[in-house]
Symmetry: C2
Subunit: 145 residues, 2 copies
DNA sequence: TATTGTTATACTCTATAACTATA
DNA sequence: TATAGTTATAGAGTATAACAATA
């Protein structure tokens, strides 16, 4: 019962290690973002809108691998919270350009600072160089193919 | 509309990068494991039972961060598929020791080979050295604290 | 005909409360 | 009283099908 469990075989898999590390970092993220009432997907949507004013739903879905029906729910809540504004797209009558309200901008200025601090805190066992190396290798995986 | 979306701010977050990479690798894993009818959590449970015969539910939950009620469902299906056997624990009457049946052993011998191949294929943009470095850094994150 | 945004809905994953039997 | 295992259920997260408006 008090025996040591052998996990070496699982720990040889990059899928297992990546998932465990992601859960660790994102767990801290969710805890630190709770005061802002933002979950990971919601934060990333607002962040992309902030740095790409006028972005459309379709572009958000493509960039974040979110399915359109699920984004609709997120944007609806943001509008209710007065964090985003919808403006007709200049050239495409079907599309709608998204941008942050002053309130959304204020929220995200704080939230992005907290997210960076949370990231550092959750990976404080790494040196700055190791963080940079890790970032490069992870992006090599999902930005290829 | 055809504008380039700026994702630099998100890509500076380790949480974002780790999650995207995990989704990439685990997507391949699920695709390759479909013939075995094993999803990620199910595979890891069977793998731990295989390399730790006699392991208990509680030990599985602790090692894999699975909540007991969710493990019950998984084990019930495994028993229906005749992949695992339950034997009373030698010293603790409350606990039950888990082990693979011959059928479960045969399935996992194949499944673990496929999982390793899937892992390599999903990270083929990395060199062997980079994979080793990545594994070390990821484990440093979630095995600490 | 293809695409943007939307609705409704289903399925999976994860989490909580409460129970039983053994320690 | 504490722990191992279980039941039932609720909540997120993710997925598919089908539609209206515009290109």
């Amino acid at each position: 019962m008090a025996e040591q469990i052998h996990t070496a075989h699982l720990e040889a898999l990059l899928g297992y290690n990546t998932r465990r590390a992601a859960l660790h970092i994102i767990g801290a993220f969710m805890h630190n973002m709770a005061p802002f009432n933002l979950r990971p997907a919601e934060f990333s949507v607002l962040s992309l809108i902030r740095h790409n004013p006028g972005i459309t739903s379709r572009q958000l879905c493509a960039a974040l691998s979110i399915l359109p029906p699920n984004l609709v729910v997120i944007l609806k809540q943001f509008e209710k919270r007065k964090l985003i504004a919808r403006k007709p797209h200049p050239t495409d009558g079907r599309a709608i350009g998204l941008s942050l309200t002053a309130q959304g901008e204020a929220l995200m200025a704080e939230a992005e600072a907290v997210s960076a601090a949370s990231d550092l805190s959750a990976t404080q066992s790494l040196t700055a160089t190791e963080r940079k190396t890790l970032t490069r290798l992870l992006q090599k995986i999902y930005l290829q193919a």
